[in-house]
């Protein structure tokens, strides 16, 4: 057997897999620094999508005929890949959804409506994306449960010292947290929160939308109960994502969406549910999208998750260093060791929209806004931040162009 040295990735080479970089934006090569919101797609994934539609497409699990068998095999093959990617015990614990948001709503509705009530407490954090905040707030309200958010301190860190008080305030039934913050890049102490959740008899729901694309996720090791993520952030198609859940919990739960394919028997008097994972996949599934998701997983596995993580960390360190040169620039978030390749920042007295606009004129795409994290913005005392985020195809030159653009914005608009 060959000895494997620590794998590194060659971003410049990988970049050639991504057709989007072949075009220019406003006459300049595209510097795409918004991968946290969505990643671009390699040819391998686009080819798979196309070939699937051209040669193997049919509805799955429904036909006796060859095409349907082919499609089903592809779809279920993708399920196995995605399940293995997060180290699930069994493929039937892996439910295809339309994205992380839907995955979380599934748990909030299907588990929450039947298991929450007055006296119960649902706990999120002030660092959550709205998609792991609002569903819980909403279902808590519908069921009469209390809704609490673990506060952040001034540096944007979770105040775990508040846990005891929260535990005393009622029966903690749900703890929901993102593994990586999309706004600050923080890698959160999910295992610790999970252990606390289990002490309280609560379920631990992990939003891995921002983690799964960037480092290896292992549901056994996290010891969580549910885990949600989206394909589009990991080089896969839009409109597909996954929910991993413990089989016992999934089996005991009511379904979420109802309809074709998730039933065992339908009668006017009573309907009974199908087995896992179909019970949670009502209607025609995201068939081609799941197949594309599988191809994206293959792609990421080929590159290597560890290599991706290392690459992003190098870029992060470099970017933080270079950005420190820009006068009046403030960055938010933790030290690089505890952080994914995401930098939120503001230029003093220059509005993020203007920063992003000026950068766009240079062909540099970053995001400006609240990043679906209004509670965090309130804590930071800002309406919005700029955010640059990196992925496997990001090269240092893109960071150089970001920094140049920031100087320009500074010069033009700072008051």
């Amino acid at each position: 057997m060959a000895v494997r040295t620590k794998p590194r990735l060659d971003a410049r080479k990988l970049r050639a897999d991504f057709p989007i970089f072949e075009q220019e934006v406003r006459g300049k090569p595209l510097a795409y620094l918004d991968s946290a919101v969505s990643a671009h797609k390699p040819r391998q994934v686009l080819d798979k999508l196309r070939t699937f539609y051209e040669t193997s497409y049919a509805n799955v699990h429904r036909g006796v005929y060859t095409l349907s068998e082919l499609a089903t095999a592809e779809y279920e093959g993708a399920r196995e890949k995605v399940a293995r990617f997060v180290n699930a015990n069994e493929a039937r614990e892996l439910i295809f959804t339309h994205g992380a948001t839907e995955s979380i709503n599934l748990v909030a509705y299907a588990w929450g409506l039947d298991n929450l009530g007055p006296g119960d407490v649902v706990v999120v954090t002030e660092l959550e994306h709205h998609s792991n905040f609002v569903p819980w707030q909403y279902i808590a309200k519908r069921t009469g449960a209390a809704f609490r958010a673990i506060p952040l301190d001034d540096r944007g860190e979770l105040r775990l010292d508040t846990l005891d008080e929260i535990a005393r305030s009622g029966n903690v039934k749900v703890v929901a947290n993102n593994l990586v913050s999309n706004a600050l890049g923080t890698i959160n102490p999910v295992e610790r929160l999970g252990a606390w959740a289990h002490e309280q008899g609560a379920i631990m729901v992990v939003d891995a939308a921002q983690a799964a694309p960037h480092h290896a996720v292992d549901v056994q090791q996290l010891d969580c109960d549910f885990l949600a993520f989206s394909a589009h952030k990991m080089c896969g198609p839009t409109s597909v994502g996954a929910l991993w859940g413990r089989a016992e919990l999934l089996e005991a739960m009511a379904p979420f969406n109802l309809g074709g394919h998730m039933i065992r028997s339908v009668k006017l008097e009573e309907t009974t549910w199908g087995q896992l994972p179909y019970k949670f996949e009502a209607g025609t599934q995201p068939i081609a999208e799941a197949v594309g998701f599988g191809a994206a997983i293959d792609y990421l596995n080929d590159v290597g998750l560890d290599a991706i993580e290392d690459h992003e960390r190098e870029l992060l360190v470099y970017a933080l260093e270079r950005m420190a040169e820009v006068p009046g620039l403030v960055t938010y978030g933790p030290a690089p060791e505890r952080r994914a390749g995401i930098i939120s920042f503001n230029l003093e007295t220059v509005h993020p929209h203007d920063v992003a606009q000026i950068l766009d004129m240079e062909g540099v795409a970053i995001r400006a806004g609240h990043h679906c994290c209004q509670p965090l913005m309130a804590k930071l005392g800002v309406a919005a931040t700029n955010r640059a985020s990196f992925y496997l195809y990001t090269i240092p030159e893109e960071i150089d162009r970001l920094v140049e653009g920031l100087h320009k914005a500074q010069k033009l608009l700072a008051q």
């Binding site: 699990h61 036909g63 006796v64 068998e69 089903t72 065992r264 028997s265 009974t272 087995q275």
Partner: protein, 145 residues
């Protein structure tokens, strides 16, 4: 041999058209009903044990289904008669599949195994033993009556 002849080979057609063990038992020692949710097919299995309370003395089935499921269940009744309930409750599915001897896609596999899973369910119910892991998935397709 064409794929066609392979799938509907003589012995399958024979079991389908002249099913062995077709019928019901009034005082069955073990009984279960199974359903294939894809096509709505149903099968009922009835088992009578011998004096030792373990040997399968008689096994009958009724219900509706495709040629594959009917033939497979018919073959199954021949296979298990005289064997011990404990043994049959743990029967490897390949033993039946080898007997059927035709290539089966996943969908048709469900048809072929409907009788066997229902039989196992009946035996486990009668003996009060839990269904083996291997059948956990399949069993939840079965209407437990």
């Amino acid at each position: 041999m064409s794929e066609f002849d392979q799938m509907y080979r003589e012995v399958i057609l024979d079991h389908y058209k002249n099913p062995r063990g077709h019928g019901e038992l009034d005082d069955a020692d073990a009984h279960a009903e199974g359903q294939n949710p894809l096509c709505g097919d149903e099968v009922s299995i009835f088992v009578a044990f011998g004096e030792d309370g373990d040997t399968i003395d008689e096994v009958k089935f009724s219900g509706r289904g495709c040629a594959i499921s009917q033939a497979a269940t018919s073959m199954l009744t021949e296979m298990v008669k005289g064997r011990s309930a404990a043994e049959v409750a743990a029967l490897p599915r390949d033993e039946l599949l080898d007997e059927i001897g035709i290539p089966l896609t996943p969908v048709r596999l469900k048809c072929a195994l409907l009788g066997l899973s229902t039989l196992k369910l009946a035996l486990h119910k009668a003996r009060g033993t839990p269904l083996p892991e291997e059948w956990a998935g399949a069993s939840s397709d079965l209407e437990l009556k």
